[in-house]
Amino acid sequence: MTLLHAQARLRDAATGDLLGGAELAGRVSEVAKELADLPSGVLFLRVGLDLTSVLRYLGAFEAGRAVALLDPAQDREVLDGLVSRFRPAAVLGIDDEPAPGYSQDWVREDADGVEQHPDLAVMLPTSGSTGNPKFVRLSRSAILANADAIAEVLGIDSDEVAPTSLPLHYSYGMSVLNSHLRKGATVLLEGSGVVARPFWDAVTKYEVTSLAGVPYHYEMLRRLRFDPAKYPSLRTLTQAGGKLRTELVSEFNDKMRAVGGQMFVMYGQTEAAPRMATVPSDRLTEKLGSAGPALPGGTFSIRDEDGNEITEPGVAGEVVYRGPNVMMGYAESEAELALGDETGGVLVTGDLGYLDSDGFLYITGRLKRIGKVFGNRVNLDDLEQIVKGYGAAAAVPAGDKVVVFLDRADKDTCKQAAKTLSETLHMHVTGFDVRPAEGFPQLPSGKIDYRSLEAQV
């Protein structure tokens, strides 16, 4: 079982080169051979939107070597922390001065390392956690099952051409790559993003058929007055990574339908490799606001505070997903590389929601205090901790951003605090709206009244 269908192709937008068939398979096996010779342990891959990165990812997958996908722009300090905790066999995609214990080309000098579990294929960072990032452990079978299920619900076949509109260390970006390669489609490697001319030139030139985006992409596309009539090949939009405002779902759905295209709204978590649900495009209007039914092979259930299943439709509780794509578990250090499956295919999502009588899921909130910054999950309590040096803070979610109220702060302090959050979490500074406050509203219990703060944003 492999990710690479015989017809799968990679198009490098930088050079225009198209790599497919035996040539692509040959390049992947070459990389796989090189990687097989490295010491035991996970491979760290700083994965960019370029051919070398993708060949390394595919090579590791084919070689049966666990590969952790990392942001190529990640701070050296964070990388060093991960290297010392996970002792990777090698770090690929870096030309910095090597970490202690690593050769000039970033291969671990000590040949002894933890032997990975044979099922382990990909590790993805869980977004948002501070200081102490951990990885989600995904098995080979979970990756393949999810790629197949996604391809089935989206109707991906070998005629599709998908650009890399999302980073590959982000689970949604990885799944676009996987689901297309698995079905013999073409993936266009383009790194400049939806606000830049080269991206749209490549969409036209290489006849891109679909585009994947998180809510902020749709906000951008709206601002750009995106008109699918200008891109005759582009007929499918997919959206995940947080709830998109229903007005925008309708607007883009209408635009796409007007030209004979389709729009898919989806739901997932990195812990599920990542897709759990997709709304069939022909039911989007009727089921506006829904995350859709579970993917083929998966099921949702809703449970109450005591852990009992709620069977009545329309009653909200915690969303639990079961399916072949659920992670093996988390990894916080090298030792966990050897662990097998710890979840039994059950993912307790931490999301609150309900199922309607057709089995469509509606997400209503989060159990924990979680916000999203441009599609990435952040723990709001962590944010408050990060900026506590600037004063007492109260963080609340605000769509694609987070608003942080900072007690008795002036404008400059707020700006500094936003910068600290951006640097610590490695997310764009405009995702953190830090505002001065004069004390916080309180609940009778003396705790901060976050609901009333949320109402202020």
């Binding site: 722009a73 400049s192 993003g193 939806v194 606000v195 830049a196 001319r197 991206f199 749209w200 902020y216 906000e219 951008m220 601002r223 750009l224 007055r225 995106f226 441009f374 700006k415 936003a418 910068k419 951006s422 764009h428 500074v429 405009t430 995702g431």
Partner: protein, 79 residues
């Protein structure tokens, strides 16, 4: 204040740049702050400051500080 100075101020504010950044020679994606997210914040801030409205084509063509200056001159801004 000259057009360049005003625009430099908008770049510094919108992208929250350090003093060390050579703003006038900046190009899209030269620095982390000017990624796609930063770009949209930047475009909105320029529109506010100069009271202009960019066309779609202009938004995606605004690939450097210098290009932004030329576009603003095209609007007759800062004269």
């Amino acid at each position: 204040m000259s057009l360049n100075d005003r625009l430099r101020g908008v770049f510094v504010d919108a992208l929250q740049l350090d003093d060390s950044v050579d703003v006038e020679n900046l190009k899209y994606r030269d620095i982390e702050e000017w990624d796609s997210v930063g770009h949209m914040a930047l475009v909105a801030a320029i529109e506010d400051e100069f009271d202009v409205q960019f066309e779609t084509e202009q938004v995606i063509d605004m690939s450097s500080f210098k290009v932004a200056v030329d576009m603003l001159k095209g609007f007759g801004a800062g004269e």
